[in-house]
């Protein structure tokens, strides 16, 4: 059934001059489908951990303690003003190398290239999320805290029950935008040979010279993934909407 | 009251017949009739949300009514199909907004000059001379080179009036022009409008300034809930209204 559908698709594509015959070779199809899985894995892991990093960094930024806030701010600025690819190389070619030397060889190093991509993307986007969250916290009017405190909330209770829920709503559009960019950035994994969909496609088209065919698929994969993230975001936005605010 | 003696002989300039308009399910105008003679100052009063500003926006074609007729001079506004026709209409009608809506990137002089030069094709020299005359008229000669952001609300509103007059309109619509102003600057704007009315400019004013409306208007129109409840001379509406709703509104204001 699937095989005949596949054949029909390849035949149809051939009519408009597109060569998808690689789909018939299990040897090529396997890594390619796996590549889609790896892309999804990279995206999901990085989304979750970047949000965690973002919350930690944002709370350090807004802690009000200069010895915590200033180094954190420096980290955020460094992250935002240097290329992600350079950060990835610094992590993979420098830190990973040092770890290899420390543990006595790459075979003892628990961190794979995949893990480094997740780490770098999480830190990078964590810093960017933190900026959005901080801006969200600052967008909460001062009088909100005053009214919470005068109702008998403690400072941390006010933050937890009143200010953060509001800040989240303010920050949400930016966060969703960041996550869409994060999904696209997983393609960077191909720079250090992580077999995600871009890299898997690269491997196929260097053999078969069918760049355009694979490009269409790649655009579709990222298009669908970013669409899902954006949809989830707008679902959350409508779900959390405050009646009487915005439209 | 100014020139009442010729009041009934002057020709009609604006005529509304059975005008209906709704925004979605919200019926804003439910059959409005209105008659404005040339040289008249007509004030529309009534509670907020009664459709006063909407009437003005229908007259200059910013909004299109769903039913009814609007005629300005010889132009059937309700029947205008193209943007070009509506633009031709708006050249003849001035509009002054509650929030002034000056162009913040242009100086006071440029705000006044831009429409005559760009739209009417007046030469720069003439337009500038007229603009300075208008600025003198609204007592802002020294502010020609200032930017809107540097002026008080009352000053901005007087510039907005000058900007509207620069097009030589046959009719000017004033949409709650003092509602956004500080109390101390209301007077200077009203003084300018008073002079314009005395000079015989036809205007329709939506206003909450009852004493001013009573003083300058030839006719008062009371609207409520998208309908015209009563109209008549200031004397009748403010001192001897026939309709109990008008009576209630005026009384509530008095107290």
């Amino acid at each position: 059934m699937i095989e005949s559908l596949l054949n029909a698709f390849i035949a149809a594509a051939k009519i408009i001059g597109l060569n998808y015959s690689f789909l018939l070779s299990a040897y090529e199809r396997g890594p390619w489908l796996e590549g889609i899985g790896i892309t999804i894995g990279l995206a999901l892991l990085s989304i979750v951990s970047s949000l965690l990093v973002g919350i930690v960094v944002a709370s350090l930024l807004t802690s009000g303690k200069p010895w915590l806030a200033n180094p954190t701010r420096a980290f955020v600025e460094l992250t935002r003003n240097t290329p992600t690819l350079v950060q990835l190389y610094c992590a993979f070619f420098v830190l990973n190398m040092l770890i290899n030397q420390a543990v006595g060889g790459a075979q003892n190093n628990p961190l794979s290239a995949f893990a480094w991509v997740v780490i770098v993307l999480s830190l990078h986007y964590g810093a960017i999320h933190a900026e959005a969250l901080r801006a969200g916290i600052e967008a909460v009017p001062k009088v909100t805290r005053e009214s919470a405190l005068s109702l008998g909330f403690s400072r941390s209770e006010s933050l937890r029950y009143v200010e953060l829920p509001l800040a989240m709503r303010f920050a949400l559009p930016s966060l969703v935008n960041n996550l869409v960019n994060l999904v696209k950035s997983t393609a960077l994994g191909s720079a250090i040979a992580v077999g995600e969909v871009t890299y898997a496609s690269l491997m196929i088209w260097t053999q078969r010279d069918n760049v355009l065919e694979l490009m269409i698929f790649i655009f579709l994969v990222y298009g669908i993934l970013t669409l899902l993230v954006a949809r989830a975001g707008s679902w959350l936005e409508t779900h959390l909407r405050m009646p009487g605010y915005g439209h | 009251m100014p020139h009442t003696e010729t009041h009934h002989e002057r020709p009609t300039l604006v005529q509304l017949r059975d005008v209906h308009l709704s925004f979605g399910s919200n019926k804003v105008l439910k059959g409005v009739d209105l008659n404005v003679r040339q040289g008249d100052a007509v004030s529309i009063i009534g509670p907020s949300g009664s459709g006063k500003s909407t009437i003005l926006r229908c007259i200059n074609g910013l909004l299109a009514p769903e039913r009814g007729e609007i005629v300005v001079g010889n132009t059937p506004v309700h029947a205008l199909k193209t943007e070009a026709d509506r633009i031709a209409l708006r050249k003849r009608i001035g509009f002054v907004f509650q929030q002034y809506n000056l162009f913040p990137h242009l100086s006071v002089l440029e705000n006044i000059v831009i429409a005559p030069t760009r739209i009417l094709g007046t030469d720069r020299q003439t337009a500038e001379r007229e603009a300075r005359e208008l600025l003198a008229r609204v007592r802002l000669s020294d502010k020609a080179d200032a930017y809107p952001g540097q002026l008080s609300g009352g000053q901005q509103q007087r510039v907005a009036i000058a900007r509207a007059l620069a097009m030589h309109p046959e009719l000017v619509l004033f949409d709650e022009v003092t509602s956004a102003l500080d109390p101390e600057t209301v007077g200077e704007v009203l003084a300018v409008i008073r002079e314009l009315v005395q000079d015989g400019l036809t205007c329709i004013l939506v206003t909450h300034e009852m004493r001013f409306a009573e003083e300058v208007s030839h006719e008062i129109v009371f609207t409520e809930g998208g309908e015209i409840v009563e109209h008549g001379t200031p004397q009748t509406i403010f001192h001897a209204p026939r309709n109990p709703r008008t009576h209630g509104f005026i009384n509530a204001l008095r107290n």
Partner: protein, 265 residues
């Protein structure tokens, strides 16, 4: 809701800094290099030998970034103008263009322009070479143009609607209003995000190394592989990181200053 929130968020960033991060960074960098100078005197000498090679790489980054923002701006204003058109058959394709190029990963777009475009162009009987670095530049310029179209659209929409109403009341047509009233007010709003975009593009020029363009990162990788010493590798990558930071951070700071300044008008 989204637009209101965005303005809130956009307005906030300069509220925070108490100690200037620039000063903090300068101190940190000087200290780091002083320590490294003691520990790695030998490899610093090596690094100096590689400076001409690295400088050539950096030239490529600057050249591609400037070209990409230039092409992207011209193309983006054009697409943005089409997007603002009221005719559906004009604005729909423009909107699609923006969607496609904003949502595709940059790296994939660079692969696309590099591998799909021919290596030379035939004009009449003349063959013009179409080098990879130009293809990569186009790969950067396409998404840049989509972003610029969005920036323009956002700026036009941020001008309050009463400005349109006031212009209409003065008998302006839609295109006259756009030309004389709306766009002049947009310039200030467009400048900060445009500069931001330039910084993003500059950082993205490193992606060209993955299609074989010898820019700074590729030069560094070459140097690191040739010298093949741990301390030199650390040093050269740190140097690259510092260089990019030194180039992009001032742009970011200036952007924030402008945003702050304009937000008061």
């Amino acid at each position: 809701m989204a637009t209101e929130n965005n303005t809130l968020i956009l307005k906030a960033p300069w509220v925070f800094p108490t100690v200037s991060p620039v000063a903090l960074w300068l101190v940190a960098l000087v200290a780091a290099w002083a320590v490294l100078g003691q520990l790695y005197a030998d490899s610093i000498r090596l690094l100096l030998l590689w400076v001409p090679h690295l400088a050539k790489g950096l030239q490529m980054n600057i050249l591609t970034s400037v070209l990409a923002i230039g092409i992207g701006t011209v193309l983006g204003l054009l697409v943005g103008a089409l997007e603002l058109s009221q005719a559906r058959w004009i604005n729909t394709p423009a909107r699609w263009y923006v969607q496609v190029f904003r949502n595709a990963p940059l790296l994939v777009l660079i692969f696309f322009t590099t591998y799909v475009f021919p290596f030379e162009i035939k004009i009449g009987s003349i063959y013009l070479p179409f080098p990879d670095w130009i293809k990569a530049t186009i790969g950067l310029a396409l998404p840049a143009s989509a972003h610029i179209a969005e920036i323009l659209r956002g700026a036009v929409q941020s001008i309050p609607t009463p400005q349109w109403e006031a212009s209409a009341s003065l008998a302006f047509s839609r295109s006259q209003t756009l030309r004389w009233i709306i766009l002049p007010q947009c310039v200030k709003r467009v400048l900060p995000p445009w500069m931001n975009l330039y910084a993003m593009i500059t950082m993205s020029t490193t992606l060209a190394s993955l299609v074989g363009v010898t820019e700074l990162l590729e030069s560094a990788k070459n140097a690191s592989n040739t010298v093949n010493r741990t301390d030199f590798t650390i040093l050269v990558y740190l140097a690259i990181l510092t260089l990019f930071f030194a180039y992009c951070y001032p742009i970011t700071r200036l952007t924030r200053r402008l945003e702050k300044k304009f937000s008061f008008h």
